[in-house]
C-alpha cells in the first residue's frame, strides 16, 4: 500500500470521523503547548530575577512548575485518548469492509493508527505555531523591565522537534492499544471481552503504593544522610513508584467498584433505570475506569495537595507558637499550593471534557439498542436516568477512594508533625463536590445526544 493510499484511506470518513480528527488534533495541540511551556521553563538558567513570578525566578522551584505543566498535559493526552474512540464502531465497520477487499489485519491497524497520527501531527504542528505566536503576544515587559513568562528563552531545537514528533507517535500508539481488543475480520468486528468480572486486587496496588511511599520517609537515617547519594535517588524513585501505584490502584479499582455497584443495583434496584444501569455496569465495568481515569488521578493529586497544605499550616502554627518562623514568607508556600490546586482544577475540567466525549461516544455506539428500547415503549427519561445511574453510582465511591488515597499520601509524607494535623474535611469535601459537579455537568451535556440516538430511524440503518 502506497503512502498516498494509506493517507486517503486513513482520512476517509463521515462527520463523526471529522469531529474525531478535529478533537484529536485540538487536544494534542493543547498538550504540545503545555509540554513546550514545560521545556521552556526548565530551559531557564540560574537565578532569573527578570521574571515577575518567584516560581520562575527561583531555580529550585522551576522544576516543580515544569512538572505541573507536564501533569496538565496528561489529562489533555487522556482526552486525546477518549477522542480517538469517538465514532470507533463506524470506523471499525469501514475497516472490516476493507478487510473484505483484501486488507491484512496489520494494514487495517495501520490505517486506523495513521488517521490518529495524522490528526496528532496536525495538532502538534498547530500547537507549535500557537506556542510561537503566544510567545510574541505575551512578550511585553512591565515598568521594571521584567517579564511575566519566560518568553526570552527558547528550548533547544531538538527538544522542540522531539515534542512535535513524539505527541503524534504517542497518539498513534494509544490508538493502536485501544484497538487491542477489537478484531476486525472481513465478516465484521468482534470485540474480545473478559469473561470474568474485575477482582479487588487493585486495592493491593494502593496498599503496596502507600507502603512504598512511606518506606523511604520512615526509614531510620535513610535518605536524609548527605553522604548517601544513591539511596537518596533510589528513595525518590520509590516515592514516585508509590504514587504511581496508588493512582493506578484507584483507576483500576474503579472497575471493581463499577462491577460491584452494578451487581447491587441489579439486585436491589426496583426501577427500570437502575436495572438497565446495573446490567450495563456489569457488562462493561471498565468503562468507568477508562472515562474517569484522568479525573481520579487529578483528585488523588488534589487530595494529596490539600493534605500537604494542611500539614504546612499546622507546621507554621506550631512554629509561630514556639517563637520561630519559616525562612520565607508562608504566603509564598501557600501560593505554590494554590498553583498546584489550579493545575488540579484545570486537569479536572479537561478530564470532564474527556468524559463528555466518552459518554457521548458510548451513547452513539449503543444507539441501536437505545432505539430498540424506545421502540418497545421505554420512555426516554428512563434511559436518561439509567445513563446517570450508570455514571454517578460508581463515581461517588471512586471519588472517596481517590480523596482518601491522596490524603493518605500526604499523611505518610509528614513523618514527624510538630502537632496533630487535622484532616481538612471542608476542603476535601469541596474537592470531591467539584469533581462530582464536573461529572454531572458532563453527563448532562452528554444526554443531549440521547434524543437523536433514540430516534426510531436508527433501527433502519
Amino acid at each position: 500500500m502506497s503512502p498516498g493510499t494509506l493517507a486517503r484511506l486513513a482520512v476517509a470518513g463521515n462527520r463523526t470521523d471529522v469531529l474525531r480528527l478535529v478533537l484529536t488534533a485540538g487536544s494534542t495541540g493543547v498538550a504540545t503547548v503545555a509540554l513546550l511551556a514545560a521545556a521552556t521553563v526548565i530551559s531557564v538558567q540560574g537565578y532569573a530575577d527578570r521574571y515577575t513570578s518567584a516560581l520562575l525566578a527561583e531555580p529550585g522551584l522551576r522544576p516543580g512548575v515544569s512538572i505541573a505543566l507536564v501533569l496538565v498535559s496528561l489529562p489533555v493526552l487522556a482526552l486525546a485518548g477518549q477522542c480517538i474512540r469517538l465514532g470507533a464502531p463506524a470506523r471499525d465497520r469501514r475497516l472490516a469492509a476493507m478487510r473484505l477487499a483484501g486488507a491484512t489485519p496489520g494494514e487495517s491497524v495501520l490505517i486506523a493508527t495513521a488517521e490518529t497520527a495524522v490528526a496528532g501531527f496536525v495538532g502538534s504542528s498547530t500547537g507549535l505555531v500557537a506556542y510561537a505566536l503566544g510567545r510574541q503576544l505575551i512578550a511585553a515587559r512591565d515598568h521594571f523591565g521584567r517579564l511575566r513568562l519566560p518568553t526570552d528563552v527558547l528550548p533547544p531545537i531538538p527538544v522542540i522537534v522531539l515534542v512535535v514528533l513524539a505527541i503524534p507517535l504517542l497518539a498513534a500508539v494509544i490508538g493502536a492499544v485501544l484497538m487491542r481488543r477489537v478484531i476486525v475480520t472481513p465478516l465484521g468486528v468482534v470485540r474480545r471481552t473478559r469473561s470474568r468480572g474485575p477482582r479487588p486486587w487493585p486495592g493491593l496496588l494502593i496498599a503496596v503504593g502507600l507502603v512504598l511511599f512511606g518506606l523511604p520517609l520512615n526509614w531510620p537515617d535513610g535518605w536524609h544522610r548527605p553522604d548517601w547519594h544513591l539511596p537518596a535517588r533510589l528513595s525518590y524513585g520509590v516515592l514516585g513508584l508509590g504514587v504511581v501505584l496508588v493512582m493506578a490502584g484507584v483507576v483500576l479499582g474503579t472497575g471493581w467498584i463499577s462491577h460491584t455497584v452494578g451487581r447491587l443495583l441489579r439486585r436491589y434496584g426496583r426501577m427500570p433505570s437502575t436495572l438497565l444501569a446495573g446490567q450495563r455496569l456489569i457488562t462493561d465495568p471498565w468503562h468507568g475506569s477508562r472515562t474517569l481515569a484522568a479525573l481520579l488521578v487529578a483528585v488523588v493529586a488534589g487530595g494529596a495537595t490539600l493534605g500537604f497544605r494542611e500539614a504546612l499550616a499546622t507546621d507554621i502554627r506550631a512554629q509561630r507558637s514556639g517563637g520561630s518562623g519559616l525562612g520565607a514568607e508562608p504566603e509564598f508556600y501557600f501560593n505554590a499550593y494554590r498553583l498546584v490546586l489550579i493545575v488540579v482544577g484545570l486537569s479536572a475540567v479537561v478530564a470532564a471534557a474527556g468524559m463528555l466525549v466518552a459518554l457521548a461516544e458510548s451513547i452513539v455506539a449503543g444507539r441501536r439498542s437505545y432505539a430498540a428500547l424506545t421502540a418497545s415503549g421505554v420512555p426516554r427519561r428512563t434511559l436518561a436516568a439509567s445513563v446517570l445511574w450508570q455514571t454517578l453510582t460508581p463515581l461517588v465511591p471512586a471519588l472517596l477512594l481517590a480523596v482518601g488515597s491522596g490524603v493518605a499520601l500526604a499523611r505518610l509524607f509528614d513523618t514527624h508533625p510538630p502537632a496533630p494535623v487535622p484532616v481538612p474535611f471542608q476542603s476535601l469535601g469541596l474537592l470531591g463536590a467539584g469533581a462530582l459537579l464536573a461529572v454531572v455537568l458532563a453527563a448532562g451535556a452528554g444526554l443531549l445526544v440521547l434524543r437523536s440516538s433514540t430516534d426510531l430511524e436508527e433501527l433502519r440503518v
Binding site: 484511506l9 476517509a12 469501514r94 469492509a97 476493507m98 473484505l100 477487499a101 489485519p105
Partner: protein
C-alpha cells in the same frame, strides 16, 4: 481435470453448534458452482472457509496446491485481493469512499498507483454500466447500482475464483436477474470460476453444477442448467 479449488472433509463449528460436518467439494477453472440448501445448512460457512475468510476446524482447503489452513491471516488476505474476488449480499462497500475508489480498493491495497487503479476500476464500472456513478458514494446509489459496484471491486484484479454469497438477495427480481447475468457473463469471458451461494433455484440455474447442503453435509450434487452460458 485438476480442480482449481478443493475442499476435503471440511468441518467447522461455532461454539457447540456444528455448521459443517465433513464437506467435500471441487471447483474447476472457469466453472460456476452453485451451493444451495435451506437456511442454516452451512452454505455461507462453506463459502467463507473456501475463500479463506474462516479457517476450517478440520479438513483441508487447497487452492493451486496451497493449503489455506496453513497460511497466515495476512497471506490469506493477500490471496483474497489478488486471486479471489468476494461478493456479498450487502455491507461490503466502504460508505465513505466513492464508487471508483471502492472498485479500485483491492488494487490500491496491493500497491498500485492511484491513477492506474482508477483507470482499471473505471473500466470495470463502465463494463457493468455504472461508470456515470464513479464519483458517487454508495449512500447515493440504489441497491442494484451498489451491487454492480461491488461486482466491479470483486473482479477488478482479474481473480481466478469469485465467491458470491447471495449476491442478489437484497435486490428486486428484475435487478437481481440483470446483476447475476452480468456476473456470469463477465466470469465466462474471463474464465473465472464462481462459487455461488444461494437458496433460490432460479439463481442456481445459472451454474454449471449444483451442490446441495443439508445440516452441514453434502446432500446432493448435480449438473446445473448453465443458463446464459
Amino acid at each position: 481435470m485438476e480442480p482449481l479449488l478443493n475442499g476435503t472433509g471440511i468441518t467447522r463449528s461455532f461454539g457447540p453448534t456444528p455448521a459443517l460436518r465433513g464437506v467435500d467439494i471441487d471447483v474447476a477453472e472457469g466453472e460456476i458452482v452453485a451451493v444451495t440448501g435451506p437456511s442454516g445448512c452451512g452454505k455461507s460457512t462453506l463459502l467463507h472457509c473456501l475463500a479463506g475468510i474462516l479457517r476450517a476446524d478440520s479438513g483441508t482447503v487447497t487452492y493451486r496446491d496451497q493449503n489455506l489452513g496453513l497460511l497466515s491471516e495476512a497471506a490469506r488476505s493477500r490471496l483474497r485481493r489478488t486471486e479471489f474476488g468476494v461478493l456479498f449480499q450487502f455491507g461490503q462497500l466502504v460508505p465513505e469512499l466513492t464508487a471508483v475508489e471502492n472498485a479500485a480498493l483491492p488494487l490500491l491495497l496491493a500497491g498500485s498507483g492511484r491513477r492506474e487503479a482508477r483507470t482499471v476500476a473505471l473500466g470495470w464500472l463502465d463494463r457493468l454500466g455504472v461508470a456515470d456513478l464513479a464519483d458517487q458514494r454508495p449512500g447515493a446509489m440504489s441497491g442494484g447500482q451498489q451491487q454492480r459496484c461491488a461486482t466491479a471491486r470483486a473482479l477488478v484484479t482479474g481473480p481466478r475464483v469469485l465467491f458470491a454469497d447471495e449476491p442478489t438477495g437484497s435486490l428486486d427480481a428484475l435487478t437481481g436477474e440483470q446483476v447475476l447475468g452480468e456476473i456470469v457473463q463477465v466470469a465466462r469471458a474471463q474464465n473465472t470460476a464462481v462459487v455461488l451461494v444461494t437458496h433460490e433455484a432460479k439463481v442456481a440455474a445459472y451454474a454449471d453444477r449444483e451442490v446441495t447442503l443439508r445440516d452441514g453435509v453434502v446432500d446432493a450434487t448435480g449438473l446445473g442448467l448453465g443458463m446464459r452460458a
